[in-house]
């Protein structure tokens, strides 16, 4: 019953450092992402191939979306957003492969991404307005609301992490339970639904991060 466990398990440890199957799957996902990217960007030219056209189309769409929301150079944010989208997207989908676990069904992973998203909001806010300017939005409209600002910061980060974690874990669990009670082919439609949910959740995570960054940058104005 070991392979049917949806929760992370320790694979090995180096001293106090414990390496779980979530981390190993993430490394695999990273390797796949790097390989695919290297393959796509190997022969970029002014006269684009079909693959390059698709890739450029995706990045131009991202650029347009970011440009519509942020008043800064979109290419400062695109690497962070893009990496979040790609990493979460691949992590969400990798679970449907046999013997692979969904890294985002581990709360530690989604929490790590949420903290990174939260950090990026502050980094871009401070970078564009300065520390003092950025912090001043916490006392708006009055100092009394400062604790509520703090609660909002924490809760939205937790919400970000838990939303992704809950969706992914539930998908895995439904598939597992159905496999246990109904048989071999019954989970297939649910897995297809899981693919859609995985892509949507990756998109939501990225868009929310973008909105938070935009909020941090524009909080002063």
């Amino acid at each position: 019953m070991k392979t049917l466990n949806v929760f992370p398990e320790k694979v090995f440890s180096i001293g106090p450092v414990q390496v779980t199957d979530t981390v190993i799957t993430t490394w695999v996902v990273m390797a796949v992402i790097i390989a695919i990217c290297a393959l796509f960007t190997r022969r970029l030219s002014i006269q684009p191939s079909t693959g390059q056209e698709v890739l450029e189309g995706i990045f131009e769409a991202i650029e347009k979306t970011v440009k519509d929301v942020l008043p800064i150079d979109p290419w400062l944010v695109i690497p962070v957003l893009g990496t979040l989208w790609i990493m979460i997207g691949f992590s969400n989908l990798v679970g449907i492969l046999p013997m692979m676990k969904t890294p985002t069904a581990d709360l530690n992973t989604t929490f790590a991404f949420a903290v990174l998203s939260y950090s990026m909001t502050h980094v871009f806010g401070i970078a564009t307005q300065g520390l003092k300017g950025y912090l001043s939005h916490y006392k708006e409209p009055t100092w009394i609301l400062f604790p509520f600002h703090l609660i909002a910061e924490v809760t939205r980060t937790i919400a970000l992490a838990v939303r992704l974690f809950g969706n992914m874990l539930s998908g895995d669990m439904i598939a597992l339970i159905l496999l246990g009670i109904a048989g071999f082919l019954v989970p297939v439609p649910f897995n297809l639904l899981h693919i859609v949910i995985g892509i949507i959740q990756a998109y939501i995570f990225g868009v929310l991060t973008l909105v938070f960054i935009a909020g941090g940058i524009r909080s002063q104005s």
């Binding site: 992370p8 990273m30 709360l107």
Partner: protein, 246 residues
């Protein structure tokens, strides 16, 4: 599920590592190629705009040149029309002059011809009249008429004695031709000679010539004087008179 700090840290590091790698192998080249293409497109657009501008300028210049050419053409046509008009006027003037000259010449020729024909006609008429008169007189004249005329000459000779010029060489006899239509008698000839001699105070050799062409009457000739009392002489006088008057 419990919070595992190592997994959390691993995932944070994993993200940052992937971000770093993707920035190098994905975002940077993609951005570069997109910007390169954009700049190329921009450059092409600028080139196209430049070419368009140049084309517009060329078109404008061409239009300007065409306008100038049209203006020049219309000016040349106007000038040419003016010149043609002047030339036409000149030619018409010259042709009119020429026509007038030809007309005048023809008219002069015509007038001359007319005058000649009129004169010829007049001469013919006078000649016809003269011939008619001569023939008529030839038919009606006879020796009596001749005698009467001779008598008249003789009388006129007496009356007009003062008009007869005197001879220069009085010592030599003067030859006087007496042309007559009918022969004169010896007595008449002698009487006539005596009369002349007394008139001129000079001896006279009378040379009598009979000429039927005189029709009737006599004609006297000495020196360069002719005293004509013949009918043919009268007819000639009449013809001359007619020529002068008609």
């Amino acid at each position: 599920m419990k919070f595992d700090i190592w997994t959390f840290l691993f995932q944070v590091i994993n993200f940052l590592v992937l971000l770093f790698i993707l920035k190098r192998i994905l975002y940077k080249p993609i951005r570069e190629i997109i910007e390169k293409r954009r700049s190329l497109i921009q450059q092409r657009i600028e080139e196209a705009e430049k070419t368009k501008k140049e084309a517009l300028e060329l078109k404008e210049n061409y239009q300007h040149e065409m306008d100038k050419l049209h203006e020049l053409k219309s000016r040349m046509i106007e000038k040419m029309n003016e010149e043609v008009g002047q030339e036409r006027k000149k030619l018409i003037g010259r042709a009119e002059e020429e026509a007038a000259r030809v007309f005048e010449k023809e008219r002069a020729v015509f007038d001359t011809e007319k005058a000649r024909l009129e004169a010829e006609l007049k001469d013919k008429a006078i000649e016809t009249v003269t011939l008619f008169a001569a023939n008529l007189l030839k038919d009606v004249s006879d020796e009596d008429l001749h005698k009467a005329i001779y008598e008249k000459l003789f009388r006129e000779l007496q009356g007009a004695a003062s008009h007869i010029p005197e001879g220069k060489e009085k010592d030599r006899p003067l030859t006087v031709d007496l042309i007559t239509a009918y022969p004169l008698s010896e007595a008449e000839t002698r009487k006539f000679t005596e009369s002349i001699e007394s008139l001129l105070s000079q001896s006279v050799i009378l040379n009598t010539i009979i000429d039927k062409a005189l029709i009737a009457g006599v004609k006297m000739k000495y020196y360069d004087m002719v005293y004509d009392l013949s009918l043919s002489g009268q007819i000639k006088k009449l013809a001359l008179k007619l020529k002068e008057t008609v």
